[in-house]
């Protein structure tokens, strides 16, 4: 259906408008990350979309702890929170993917697990806030508070529903003839899964893992509750970056925000194909 020219132009106008609105907040933060201190709060006529004197000071400040421009220095630099985010998200993803994949295979092939699929959806619907008190007590009791593995454990559980449902749709779609042929050959069921099914599922598995990683990396609330000092993650650390002497450290926070925002955006574009499936629990496959 060829669209008439005025309509085509209208489409471009609307799409470009949406693109502008989409990009402005991110660009403002990116621009702020390279602004020197005097430009942080410049307002009114002095408001600039681009840094007039671009600088890397903000990055030096969060990684080095101090700059010549600012009187304050940080007692903790961004390295440790970045490590915390990486460790907790990676191992949380690993836990969710291993348990979720195994359970998805069990449900898809052997109809095991009973109510498991629906229970996992309910787990996703519950607000984390609503089990906050028991989880805080349990984590203290198990000595998991303020550790990267304690955080990884809860991340793994929280994202388990996504791992399970994603992998289940992939297993459901996979033709069974190959597995059946191997069974006829005398392979054990476990061997069939490990040597035939799983290797065929590597690409979907990797995409699902990236999806789950993005979710874990994006967490703020859980880390806010379960870490206090040593293993705070990037968002928690970022929120704590302000001092009574300078007020908001706009540029430093923006630099950190940029670092936090980049990995999910890049990974998200890489797995675009699976986003619909992941976000709708496999109800839509596109």
């Amino acid at each position: 259906m060829p669209t008439r020219l005025p309509l085509q132009l209208l489409r471009y106008a609307l799409v470009l408008g949406a693109v502008a609105i989409t990009l402005i907040p991110t660009l403002w933060m990116a621009s702020m990350a390279f602004k020197p201190i005097p430009e942080w709060t410049a307002s009114g006529a002095a408001l600039r979309w681009w840094p007039e004197n671009p600088t890397l000071d903000n990055f030096r400040f969060i990684f080095g702890g101090s700059t010549s421009e600012l009187l304050v220095s940080l007692d903790r630099t961004a390295w440790r929170p970045i490590l915390a985010s990486l460790l907790a998200s990676t191992f949380g993803t690993l836990l969710a993917m291993v348990c979720g994949t195994a359970a998805a295979y069990a449900v898809s092939r052997f109809r095991a697990g009973g109510n498991l699929p629906l229970s996992l959806i309910q787990l996703r619907i519950f607000p984390p806030m609503a089990v906050l008190i028991p989880v805080m007590i349990m984590w203290t009791f198990l000595d998991l508070t303020d550790t990267w593995y304690g955080l990884a454990l809860i991340y793994g559980i929280v994202t388990l529903p996504f791992a399970f449902w994603l992998m289940k749709t992939f297993f459901d779609e996979m033709p069974r003839e190959i597995e059946e042929a191997a069974l006829v050959e005398g392979c054990s069921r476990l061997r069939v899964f490990l040597k035939i099914t799983f290797p065929m599922m590597l690409a979907p598995f990797a995409s699902s893992a990236l999806f789950v990683f993005i979710l874990n990396w994006s967490d703020y609330l859980i880390a806010l509750l379960l870490t206090t000092k040593d293993w705070v993650t990037i968002p928690v650390y970022m929120a704590s970056l302000s001092s009574s002497m300078t007020g908001q450290l706009y540029g430093a926070k923006a630099a950190l925000g940029l670092i936090a925002a980049l990995p999910p955006v890049i990974l998200g574009i890489a797995i675009q194909r699976y986003l619909v499936r992941g976000l709708t629990f496999g109800a839509l496959k596109q």
């Binding site: 085509q8 991110t26 408001l47 291993v98 095991a112 994006s218 923006a254 976000l279």
Partner: protein
């Protein structure tokens, strides 16, 4: 007697006649489980086990603990272990208190207000964008990727972006000043009547792409030949949309709306970074309320009660909803 007219009793009687064995013995008539099936059952059980255990660990145990604590006046303030909470047993006092807690109810109402505004806004904007993207046009793929980026931004970081944008000397006022020619210096986030609007705008910015993504996936699935046939028959765009597209994507719409409603009910990260629930309690949603009461007042038995009430109500609603969806 025709088969249609048979009563259930008659059918049972007939079945019993043709099958002289008693019911218990009949069960063994089903073919015995093959070794392969038995192996599958065992493996299935073992593979589902870790997930089952994690669910028990995070759902059953915490719920029981929560129920127990909610019936007491326990607080961690005096160093007493939660297992000793029975010493301050007070039956349903906490529950009675929740019913009269104005701050709780207004937080709940505010949460619904955010849902009522944001979900339809995100839906309509997302649907509009999706309609623009149904047909091919040059640059479509790039624009598509760009439009999806907001939902991949860490919500806490998105909260910080909008915190900067809504400063009184920030770029939003800058743009408004340029457009109106006046010097706009609205303090969005410290104005109780505007702060919630700012939070809503941030949420709409971040999550409209999700609606767009899901609805576009639905629209692309609409068979093209039907649309072409309708066009040939002289159907206008609106008629095609209403009679062919809309019915085909009804399920997709429901899924998208449900996902956003559930997620906004939990709203915390972006909101808390932007306003911290303030000024005062003017942007306090249910999650922020629970967080603040937990950390500031340390009335943990009371928080447990609030949390349990929310969990139970949500369970009822979702169990009902899932059943409805299942029947479809």
């Amino acid at each position: 007697m025709t088969p249609e007219a048979m009563t259930p009793e008659a059918m049972t009687a007939k079945a019993a006649m043709s099958d002289p064995l008693p019911a218990s013995a009949r069960r063994s008539h089903t073919p015995p489980e093959s070794p392969l099936e038995a192996e599958g059952r065992r493996l299935g059980f073992l593979m589902a086990l870790p997930t089952q255990l994690l669910l028990v660990f995070i759902v059953v145990f915490p719920l029981l603990m929560q129920l127990y604590i909610s019936l007491t006046a326990w607080t961690p303030l005096y160093g007493q272990n939660w297992t000793q909470a029975w010493q301050s047993w007070n039956w349903f006092e906490n529950y009675a208190e929740v019913m009269q807690d104005g701050r709780f109810w207004s937080a709940l109402w505010r949460t619904f207000l955010v849902i009522i505004v944001c979900v339809p806004a995100q839906f309509l904007l997302g649907l509009g964008l999706a309609i623009l993207f149904v047909e091919n046009f040059p640059g479509k793929r790039v624009f598509y990727s760009v439009l999806l980026t907001p939902m991949m931004v860490v919500p806490a970081v998105a909260g910080y972006m909008f915190f900067m944008l809504f400063q009184s000397g920030g770029p939003i006022n800058g743009i408004l000043s340029d457009l109106t020619g006046l010097n706009v210096t609205t303090a969005w986030l410290s104005d109780p009547s505007l702060a919630l609007a700012a939070v809503m705008i941030a949420d709409i910015w971040q999550w409209t792409p999700l609606m767009f993504l899901i609805l576009l996936a639905g629209l692309i699935g609409v068979p093209e030949d039907q649309l072409k046939a309708a066009t040939l028959l002289g159907a206008s765009w609106w008629q095609r949309f209403r009679t062919i597209m809309l019915p085909r994507i009804r399920t997709v719409i429901v899924i998208a709306l449900v996902i956003r409603t559930v997620e906004i009910f939990k709203i915390f990260d972006n909101l808390y970074i932007m306003t911290g629930g303030g000024p005062g309690v003017s942007t306090e949603t249910i999650s922020v309320y629970i967080y603040k009461v937990t950390l500031q007042n340390l009335e943990w038995s009371y928080v447990a009660t609030v949390a349990l009430i929310i969990l139970v109500s949500l369970s009822v609603v979702t169990a009902f909803g899932l059943k409805l969806m299942d029947r479809r």
